[in-house]
Symmetry: C2
């Protein structure tokens, strides 16, 4: 199978069908859409045996990882199905009329969220399932009731095409309106779709440069639309002297495991590890990095991008190379660099750049003040991690405050790689982690990106959506006259 | 008192102070910030006797309206104080660790919302209190815990300055951090502030052109920030034959009262009234418009803008002038135009343009299909209104579906002017009603614009914010393992 770019007439058919599907899909009850998501999840699981081998071929990722990704993606669809059945995502709020309200009488007001309309998802390369065709953006937009058009990542075109067919067929068989889901290929088709008036929101996972270019298109089109880009992140890790004393060996192993996981191709890869001077872990870190087998990267463009950025970092005066990982037939070996917080603070910008791949930097700090100053040098991040002990209790709050201003998720005594799909997950953060820091791309609250409020004023019961009627036929959690019920 | 544009060194002082205030303001407990909002509300009420005369002088609006606006603004501050004390605005979600989760174990995750940081508010001209210095953007951003810098509208500079002093003093006296609130003047200061890295979000109420220009600045700055613009709206009203038969006289009077209210200077002014052919109300509408006294407009620029757009509409071939309202010494008299749905559908764009001021258009439709087609011709609006009777039940759902896709608030047998401050209010809508259709600028949910999520992973109790601790010391509503409690 060869996948070709989507031709203009095919793109027109896809967009017209998505626009046609928007009304009927929005009209389904939440529980009916939950059924569609479960059907898609079941079909994805059932097709794993066919899809995973294509993914291995196209991404160079190992089977275990990809099988896990399928389970994560189908589990995510099912979690959104649960959220639909629970119903609080609709944010129903009812305020009774109050003829005595001052300065003017208040009408009966009933608010709920409705789908924004067709969503264009730009798939990522590094998770061929979980952040691609059947990933979090797709799952949350479908859950919201928005038709989805996925612009496939060119790194895994056949997988994208085939996964799209599996999902579209499952949705169709489960009764979804025609046009609910489609996959398109090619950057030209993607940018054309992003400017099309029938597309009402965009979502993207990828580079800062790519995300900013798409954000500009989404903002400057005749009707600006919301655009949710998840871009770059350095994911710093701060280790206290007490943590080194208590768990130095484990920390060294954990760090190397985390930054080399998936050949460093995670947006949550720890890019810098801050250690106190005299940590005594250098030899152990070097050994652990040397012991990590080279592995293939997702594609040549990403391998070359990593090599270029790694070489740039190695060439910086303030950075020492502890281990240079070569690119060879067996893949890319990890690289470990080192510097001091003093050097970093003297000129942070050249060092604080994301290097996508298995390269990371150890930074030695002299004392707590210098660690805090280094933390303050960071911009927005998806995550920030602290490795500490109970005895650090007095100094940690200041560090956590600094990190909270700069990151979407604060990890304590863990590693940032691994993003659980859960209600409480936040996968986002201030720019450049995302272009829309008040939203997440993982977790059930990701659905909020594709819903807009509507308020019905003084509308008769028979004309209200079921969600807003007095008798609450859908059994939704609602806020009535200010009180949750 | 003469108000001059804010000089660069003063702007720098304001922005530095706002950045300084962000941490301490965010650290206050919600109930402590509620106290600040109540202090601001009390001070505003207490200063009404001084402020309203300045507002009359600068805006040409009548005393009763302005006194009502003060009450609305102070009431709004108190409603946000209530929302802070109730606490569900923090959207706290806790997920317990699950070592048996598939495909990977799940850590303990705790999510809440935190303030985005200093917010820049561009005040509107048409509500010198309610959408200006002490208005909804200010109230919701302060409630969120974000310092606020208001760029005053040049239409009421002295009122803005004095109101700002009253609020700043009240906040200071109540213990708010220095820099919590400030007013700046001049477009150059405003755009400079919007590009300043210390400003983390922008809000605006005004014209489509102005809003788009600011949106572009907010998006293209080095760190793109969320920008919430409330721009233009036509607010169509659709009247069924049954409603004409039952309440034609009242509808004519209500419509003229609504589109001439405040000299038509409401973003929710009904710009088009759709009536069935043979409605027989033309004479009555003409009489009611002629009986409406001329009134001053907010300022010369707005008066000239209205005259220009009114004259453009009058010059369009498909539009008949029923009443031409002149601009005279006594102010601007209302203008009523007429056309048919057929003419409108033949070339909608020249007609479907907002005319800010006391001008509106009556549109006759031949039948229900034509009314529906006309409804489909609209873009985004803040409101859409239906005047109907029980006997219309069979045909209304299709109309409401079309309008729901195009408007933020659906008004039934009422008039769109008048935006109640309430939990369930939605004052927003698809572009060009707003630049951010998933958010509102009025109602308690407006706070969501200035909050971003943060997730704490596996963090010890002592290091968690109070809102996320097991013992829930703030008594917040929370979602725990998927269940609201």
């Amino acid at each position: 199978m060869t996948v070709t770019d989507t031709a203009p007439e095919e793109l027109e058919r896809v967009l017209a069908a998505a626009a046609q599907a928007a009304g009927p899909l929005a009209a389904l009850r939440p529980a009916e859409r939950a059924r569609l998501l479960r059907a898609a999840a079941d079909a994805l699981d059932a097709a794993a045996g066919e899809l995973v081998p294509i993914a291995i071929e196209e991404s160079a990722l190992p089977e275990g990882r990809l099988t896990g990704e399928v389970a994560r993606s189908s589990g995510q669809l099912r979690l959104f199905a649960d959220a639909l059945e629970e119903g609080s995502y609709l944010e129903v709020i009812l305020d009774s009329a109050d003829p005595d309200a001052k300065p003017v009488p208040r009408p009966d007001l009933r608010r709920m969220l409705v789908p924004v309309g067709p969503v264009l998802v730009f798939a990522a390369s590094n998770f061929p399932f979980a952040f691609s065709v059947p990933g979090g953006d797709t799952a949350s937009a479908l859950a919201a009731g928005s038709p989805v058009v996925v612009k496939a990542h060119p790194g895994h075109p056949r997988l994208s095409q085939r996964t799209g067919e599996v999902l579209a067929e499952a949705l169709r068989a489960a009764g979804a309106p025609d046009g609910t889901f489609a996959v398109i290929h090619g950057m030209e088709a993607g940018t054309t779709a992003l400017t099309d008036p029938r597309i009402k929101a965009g979502a993207f996972t990828g580079s800062v440069k790519g995300g900013l270019a798409l954000l500009e298109i989404a903002t400057r089109r005749e009707e600006p639309i919301p655009f949710y880009g998840e871009l770059g992140s350095l994911n710093p890790v701060f280790v206290t002297p007490a943590a080194i004393a208590a768990r130095g060996t484990d920390i060294a192993a954990g760090y190397v495991g985390s930054f080399t996981l998936g050949t460093g191709q995670f947006c949550t890869k720890p890019g810098l590890l801050f250690l106190p001077e005299g940590h005594g872990l250098e030899e152990r870190l070097v050994e652990a990095v040397r012991a990590t087998a080279p592995a293939g990267m997702l594609n040549d463009r990403i391998r070359e991008g990593h090599a270029h950025e790694r070489d740039r970092l190695e060439g910086l005066g303030p950075l020492r190379t502890l281990v240079h990982g070569a690119d060879g037939d067996a893949g890319v070996a990890p690289t470990l660099l080192a510097t001091t917080a003093k050097e970093l603070l003297a000129d942070p910008d050249p060092i604080l750049q994301e290097c996508f791949g298995p390269t990371s930097i150890v930074v030695e700090y002299a004392d707590g003040d210098e660690m805090l100053a280094a933390a303050e040098a960071f911009g927005g991040n998806l995550t920030a991690t602290v490795q500490a002990e109970d005895s650090d209790a007095a100094t940690l709050p200041a560090l956590l405050d600094v990190l909270r201003d700069r990151a979407g998720r604060l990890v304590y005594n863990g590693w940032p790689t691994g993003v659980a799909v859960a209600h409480a997950m936040h996968h986002g953060g201030p720019f450049p982690a995302t272009t829309a820091s008040i939203h997440t791309s993982v977790g059930t609250t990701a659905i909020r990106r594709f819903l807009r409020p509507v308020c019905y004023q003084n509308t008769p019961q028979a004309l209200l959506p079921e969600a807003l009627r007095d008798d609450n036929p859908l059994g939704l959690p609602r806020r009535v006259d200010g009180v949750l019920s």
